[in-house]
């Protein structure tokens, strides 16, 4: 479904190479984790896949094939067709990723407004249904709320609802739980897992939190300084890391009882 081939991304203003010929692929419905530290190129990769890179500011090489369409070289009008419909994205900061002056309900419907010919009433019905699905409390009331009236966890649920309402094939989650506290984090992860299992949406899960990725993902790619240094089934990568950087990462995962003795 998604195939990234030798992707390199260079920022034109300072010549920095954010991503250095990485390749990976995703099958429909797969949950792939992309882990790495800040600045390792995870987010840029995600933006590239979503077709959100400012083409005037970066130089790209290689290919990103999404359902046969090369996202890097296709026309803007073709991107508009898949954005929101086939690719959804959940951002890190639920505080800033919703328009502060717009009620939440219409924001959840945004992609339907562009991609479907549904009437306003049908859109609202669908939005309420999705809001129910992501466990937003009292959808009718929440529909009319503004983002600042909601908690961080609720906003992230609203984001997921907005990304998911058009039933995309791929959901990119860029550190969706980093800004949330641990209990809410667990709830959001369960929600993503449930959505993935109930539909054929693929999850590209970007995080620096190894324990989260280990819990959620079937396969992992480890990024370090713009390169993918290791990739494989999650269990295998975490229990038997091959690359030196991965070994250090895995060793840094806090585990119960081990810290005190050392």
């Amino acid at each position: 479904m998604l195939e990234v081939k030798d992707l390199s991304i260079t920022f034109l203003d300072d010549g920095a190479k954010a991503v250095d010929s990485i390749s990976f692929s995703m099958a429909p419905g797969e949950r792939l984790g992309l882990v790495g530290e800040s600045g390792s190129g995870k987010t840029v990769t995600a933006l590239a896949i979503a077709g959100l890179l400012d083409r005037g500011r970066v130089r790209t090489e290689g290919q990103i094939l999404f359902q046969g369409l090369d996202i890097l070289s296709c026309k803007e009008s073709e991107l508009l067709k898949i954005r929101g419909k086939d690719v959804g994205m959940v951002f890190q900061e639920p505080m800033t990723s919703l328009d502060p002056l717009m009620r939440v309900g219409p924001q959840i419907e945004e992609s339907l407004r562009v991609h479907s010919k549904l009437t306003a009433r049908q859109r609202k019905a669908l939005a309420l249904q999705v809001m129910q699905h992501v466990d937003l409390p009292d959808p009718e009331t929440t529909y009319r709320k503004y983002p600042h009236q909601m908690s961080g966890g609720q906003r992230q649920r609203a984001m997921i609802a907005a990304a998911f309402i058009s039933r995309p094939k791929l959901l990119i989650c860029d550190e969706p739980t980093t800004a949330l506290d641990v209990t809410v984090q667990a709830q959001i992860l369960n929600l993503l897992l449930r959505i993935n299992e109930q539909s054929d949406v693929g999850l590209l899960f970007i995080s620096h939190d190894l324990s989260v990725v280990r819990r959620l993902c079937q396969r992992v790619a480890v990024m370090y300084k713009g390169r993918i240094v290791e990739t494989g089934p999650a269990e295998q990568v975490f229990s038997d890391p091959q690359h030196e950087y991965t070994q250090r990462l895995v060793a840094a995962i806090p585990s119960r009882g081990k810290g005190r003795r050392q």
């Binding site: 954005r83 929101g84 951002f91 328009d99 502060p100 945004e110």
Partner: protein, 270 residues
């Protein structure tokens, strides 16, 4: 979070409402015909018949202040409207798309702002002629650069926000992103600068009428009255004071609103 009372905003709104009330009253009814001369009662000091006294032609100053403030107010609103609408459109597109057109327009704006605005207004007036409506056009055009620059900056700031990226990701087209998601978010900043712009427009109208190229006699405007009053400043100080105070009150009210809005925004962000 404790809600603090925004006294600036409340006071400004009250003052402006009172002024607008008086202005509306002035359109519907004035105690005397503002242009009716009465040689028998020239330069009378304030009394119960003539609340603010009379001028050198025996015209009732209170009636003239009411109507003059109305003219000044209308000019201020119209100027801000022209400058604001054009500024939002130009600034919006420049900030969103950037590119050479952005550079061109913004550098032109720099050039226009480099000249003293009253001088440029004089140039425009000398091209299109004086008068109430022409002054609106002249000042309106002059106000476009400052608004468009402000909006451009705000748009550029909002453009990099995640909710804009998100809206684009949802498949929203450029115009929808710009008009539905970005421009409304620039309004808090724009609003207080519109109020400040209104004040500048009132002052500019006053100075241009003072110079004799604004509202034409015999119609009253606050600036005209001020310039006519200066000859009689020592014999009839109430004349200049009435016109001057009307200008001050009008500006003070709107200025307080601008300040109140600005203060509220700062608190919201903190």
């Amino acid at each position: 979070m404790k809600k603090r009372r925004n006294y600036n905003l409340i006071l400004g709104l009250a003052l402006t409402c009172a002024m607008v009330g008086l202005i509306v009253m002035g359109w519907l009814w004035t105690p005397f015909d503002p242009n009716a001369m009465d040689p028998a009662s020239r330069l009378q000091s304030p009394s119960l018949t003539h609340l603010l006294g009379t001028d050198n032609f025996g015209r009732d100053i209170f009636s003239r202040v009411l109507q003059g403030a109305g003219a000044t107010f209308l000019i201020g609103v119209a100027v801000v409207l022209i400058g604001g609408v054009c500024g939002v459109l130009i600034g919006g597109f420049c900030g969103y798309y950037g590119g050479w057109l952005d550079d061109l327009l913004m550098r032109s704006a720099d050039i226009i702002t480099a000249f003293p605005s009253i001088l440029l207004a004089l140039v425009i007036i000398s091209l299109i002629g004086a008068g109430k409506y022409r002054i609106i056009i002249a000042l309106g055009v002059l106000f476009i650069p400052s608004f468009s620059r402000l909006v451009r900056g705000e748009v550029a700031r909002c453009k990099s926000q995640e909710y804009v990226a998100n809206a684009r990701l949802m498949g929203a087209k450029d115009l929808r992103v710009l008009f539905v998601h970005i421009l409304p978010n620039t309004f808090p900043v724009l609003l207080s600068s519109l109020a400040i712009g209104f004040n500048n427009a009132v002052l500019a109208e006053a100075s241009m009428s003072y110079l004799g190229i604004g509202v034409q006699p015999p119609d009253p405007s606050l600036g005209r009255m001020l310039s006519e009053a200066q000859t009689y400043f020592f014999s009839a100080p109430w004349y200049a004071l009435s016109a001057g105070c009307a200008i001050v009150l009008l500006i003070l009210g709107v200025g307080l609103i601008a300040d109140g809005l600005g203060g509220r925004r700062r608190r919201d962000r903190a």
